[in-house]
């Protein structure tokens, strides 16, 4: 079996816990490591450390926002995206292109995922945990409109979309007009979900630009 080297982009990872996503990603990286898949996580945290190696197979890169203060979650996220791009580029160049795919969780770092794909030819998976249509109390607000805009480009420009349920898959296809064949369901409550993730990773790496 050929080695795969994923880089996961997420705005939360323990000890930064905003919601359930941090715990989910902790389970995901542990699961990948159990199958001997070396995993890099690029995330944000106002940590004094830029880099942390937690095990032989798990390393974390902490990004802090280059601009302070911010007036909205959008300006905060989008300036941070440039810093995420810097970190992933540094990994890519220092390891001579050894990044097989990006797994971008939620909309926050979708812009970085798209640009890294265009610039460096790294395929990217967009993993959707929830949609703005479900979260927002006022979908007509300009802020929701921006987040939906980012979810849309993430859904359309990624190589693969992973959702957690059939109902979420249907929503993504309906709201963002994504071809059904591009969206898969991997439920983390199912036994063998890590194997399914690895399978999707292997499938996506075939899109890597050499």
């Amino acid at each position: 079996m050929t080695k795969i080297t994923p880089v996961i982009l997420t705005w939360e990872y323990p000890p930064r816990i905003i919601g359930d996503m941090a715990h989910h990603l902790d389970r995901l990286t542990s699961g990948l490591n159990k199958y001997n898949i070396p995993t890099s996580v690029v995330t944000c945290h106002d940590s004094p450390y830029l880099y942390e190696r937690r095990s032989d197979l798990l390393e974390l890169f902490w990004a802090s926002n280059p601009v302070e203060p911010h007036i909205s979650v959008i300006t905060w996220c989008l300036t941070l995206n440039s810093e995420i791009e810097r970190i992933v580029s540094d990994i890519y160049y220092s390891r001579k292109g050894e990044i097989d795919l990006l797994d971008v969780h939620e909309w926050h770092f979708v812009s970085a995922g798209i640009n890294l794909k265009k610039a460096l030819g790294i395929p990217f998976i967009f993993t959707i945990h929830s949609l703005e249509d479900q979260r927002s109390l006022d979908l007509s607000s300009p802020l929701s409109s921006c987040i939906k805009g980012l979810e849309k480009i993430g859904s359309n420009e990624s190589d693969l979309v992973i959702t957690k349920s059939d109902s979420m898959k249907k929503e993504v296809i309906k709201i963002y007009e994504v071809p059904e064949s591009k969206v898969i369901v991997v439920s983390p409550t199912e036994k063998g979900w890590i194997k399914e993730i690895i399978k999707s990773y292997r499938k996506t790496t075939t899109n890597k630009r050499e």
Binding site: V67, I71, I74, L78, T79, N81, K118, A119, P142
Partner: protein
């Protein structure tokens, strides 16, 4: 010699003209192309403008600038940068780009991300600072913009600004070491001030033949010192004059009210907005041009007056003091109505003196032609590329 292929990022480019940045990028990019540099400009879209076109050799890419609702201007800028970066990533991937050139904070995040992903050095022009525009930083919104400016200057290999005055401002407000700053003045196309038009007819729209035409062109805002002009008018007794104030701004109504209060409505004409062609013509027919600015990072109006042949009375503040020289190309005065009136009278009554100012200004303005500005800019590009390719330290 290294010949750079440049990709400029600017949020405005003709026909999308918001302020002075669009004409600057337009003229500079054309002048660079004339000197053999390949220039791409990535900018925001505009109704009716092509998404891709070649303008006098400049390859222009107009990007969907994000038209959905956003909560505020800064959030729109962030979303616009997302689109800009996506499109430019494809442009760079299919073109041999060796320098990224960002104009102002509005394109900072796109430029910085692209610099790192493609490992191309970045040059940034800071046209003005948030601190300077707002006379200080007063809230978190302004603090965020200022912080973005600081981020852009940290990430840029070299920073270009238009005057020593601006270099000091960038140093003091953004903490940029002056050794990283290149001073490249704004430019002017003097040809545009020589196009054949009926000057007599144009002049007659603003003043009687026997009236001396005293001209002000600029935004009608406090930092331009325009109120001093109205207050100086009563001190011009003994002269037959017409003061023509051209421009828009929040002080317009107040100026008109004050003109009426002083009983000067037949002597001071506040025109509001005028077409560029008309303004260029006014610089050619004016007997004196007033630039009494309080804050002026550069003072492009000085170059326009010099190119048009209008003698200048100025406060000499900021960049004006670097372009102009007292009694050689302009009359320097204090920022008081009495002093301004003294300067106006001196020029209007001493024709030999006015002619000498006009003559010297017409010689010196040539050093601000866009060709010369492009040469200086190429100097910054070449230095950046040399240091980048030959230096041991890389910005990554």
């Amino acid at each position: 010699m290294l010949t750079p292929n440049v990709l400029m990022l600017a949020w405005e480019f003709p026909p999308r003209i918001i302020g002075g940045l669009a004409p600057h990028v337009y003229e500079l990019s054309r002048a660079l192309v004339k000197k053999g540099i390949e220039v791409h400009v990535a900018t925001c879209d505009f109704p009716g403008a092509e998404t891709y076109e070649v303008v006098d050799g400049v390859i222009v890419h107009r990007v969907d600038s994000y038209s959905n609702p956003t909560p505020d201007f800064a959030t729109w800028v962030a979303m616009m940068n997302v689109n800009l970066q996506r499109e430019i990533a494809e442009i760079i991937a299919s073109n041999d780009i060796s320098i990224l050139h960002a104009h102002d904070w509005l394109v900072a995040s796109a430029s910085i991300g692209l610099k790192h992903m493609f490992r191309i050095p970045l040059v940034a022009t800071i046209h003005s600072t948030e601190y300077g525009r707002r006379s200080g930083i007063h809230n978190d919104y302004q603090r965020m913009i200022s912080s973005t400016e600081s981020w852009l200057t940290r990430e840029a290999w070299r920073i270009i600004c238009c005057s020593k005055y601006m270099a000091k401002e960038i140093n003091s407000t953004l903490g940029v070491d002056e050794i990283r700053i290149d001073i490249v003045p704004n430019g002017i196309n003097t040809e545009l001030f020589r196009t054949p038009i009926n000057l007599k007819q144009l002049r007659s729209r603003f003043a009687q033949p026997n009236e001396k035409l005293v001209l002000f062109v600029g935004r009608l805002v406090h930092e331009k010192g325009v109120s001093t002009i109205v207050e100086a008018a009563p001190h011009l007794y003994g002269l037959n004059f017409k003061i023509v104030i051209v421009g828009e701004g929040y002080l317009k109504e107040e100026l008109i009210r004050r003109v009426n209060e002083l009983g000067l409505s037949d002597k001071v004409y506040v025109t509001g907005f005028l077409e560029t062609e008309t303004i260029r013509g006014l610089f050619r027919v004016a007997d004196v041009c007033l630039i009494p600015s309080i804050y002026e990072p550069f003072g492009i109006v000085a170059l326009e007056a010099m190119a048009g042949g209008s003698p200048i009375v100025t406060s000499g503040s900021g960049g004006l003091g670097e372009i102009l020289e007292h009694d050689r190309t302009a009359t320097f005065v204090y920022q008081t109505p009495e002093s301004l009136a003294w300067g106006i009278k001196k020029i209007l009554t001493d024709h030999r003196y006015a002619d000498s100012l006009r003559k010297e200004a017409s010689i010196r303005v040539k050093s601000y032609e866009w060709g010369a500005i492009a040469t200086s800019t190429i100097g910054t590009y070449t230095r950046t590329m040399l240091e980048y390719t030959e230096g041991k330290w890389k910005p990554f």
